[in-house]
Symmetry: C2
Subunit: 193 residues, 2 copies
Amino acid sequence: MTNRGRIFVISGPSGVGKGTVVGQVLKNVDNIYLSVSATTRKIREGEKEGVNYFFKTKKEFQEMIDSGQFLEWAEFAGDFYGSPKFNINNYLSCSKDVILEIEIQGAKQIREKCPDSILIFLAPPSFEALEERLIKRQTESVEKVKIRLKKAKEEMNETKLFHYLVVNDDLKEAVDNVLGIIRAERCRITNVK
Amino acid sequence: MTNRGRIFVISGPSGVGKGTVVGQVLKNVDNIYLSVSATTRKIREGEKEGVNYFFKTKKEFQEMIDSGQFLEWAEFAGDFYGSPKFNINNYLSCSKDVILEIEIQGAKQIREKCPDSILIFLAPPSFEALEERLIKRQTESVEKVKIRLKKAKEEMNETKLFHYLVVNDDLKEAVDNVLGIIRAERCRITNVK
């Protein structure tokens, strides 16, 4: 067994509540750190630079791609998202676990580049519920919401790439399930086939 | 994905606290049932027929072996232990999960016969702690305690057959880890390689 930290990837369709679940998870477990992503999307009300995201222009983001600074990156609904390598590797080498809250295309890259990563798909209880949440959020135009919903339907076919599926119907239940997965993976005997 | 229930096997050296951990786990999670084992060992103070074990004579136990009534059985420190098939299959076919609290030889049999089972090894924080517990328990002769300790040392080499290792140092922590494993396995996407 290695003492290197583990990567937990939390992914799922837009509006499923990844940020809320991850926030609650981080409050309830030790020795795990959030990898703050970089993005070109506009900052939303209440979000903070360096806390929720590193907000970048498209030019800055492209420069980070070109200089190999991302562990994964993806374009999603017209914006770019990526996980900078700095910090992640530091945490892992100090036996600390890392959570990546990322889009599904990014999760696929992590699965290939870091095959020991644990991939959790956060799913909505239904599409109707997802639509309602995206509209309620009022952070985007109707058109962008439509793009995200269409994408979400496609993405539900990608769950087979993940190790775990957590339905975010009741928030506490979803958070407890993710916490359970973290506990379980920390007890896992890695040399079992 | 199937709707059939899962088998969770909790095993580990004598005196590690399997019974206590399992008792606490059952109080804190729904839809999971304990498979009551049959044994030829003597009933201990506070134990009840049909609750802790089905207590059998060696002749009765042998008849159950001969008529194929066990999912697994093993001899351990001079006594026989086995998991009767009745009930287990009923639970599984009704999508209910089952806990087997069994000896390590039995866990090996379950791993072969039911490869989808989830095997949890409950380990003592140290051998000294284990010795202290076995002596404190005062349920057996010094000689039997010695046999159990020798066996326990051998058994620690068997952990690689298990999926999870939970150290029973702090009881609450051990119980929370087993509960986490149950939650995680219920979220697992079974067709992932």
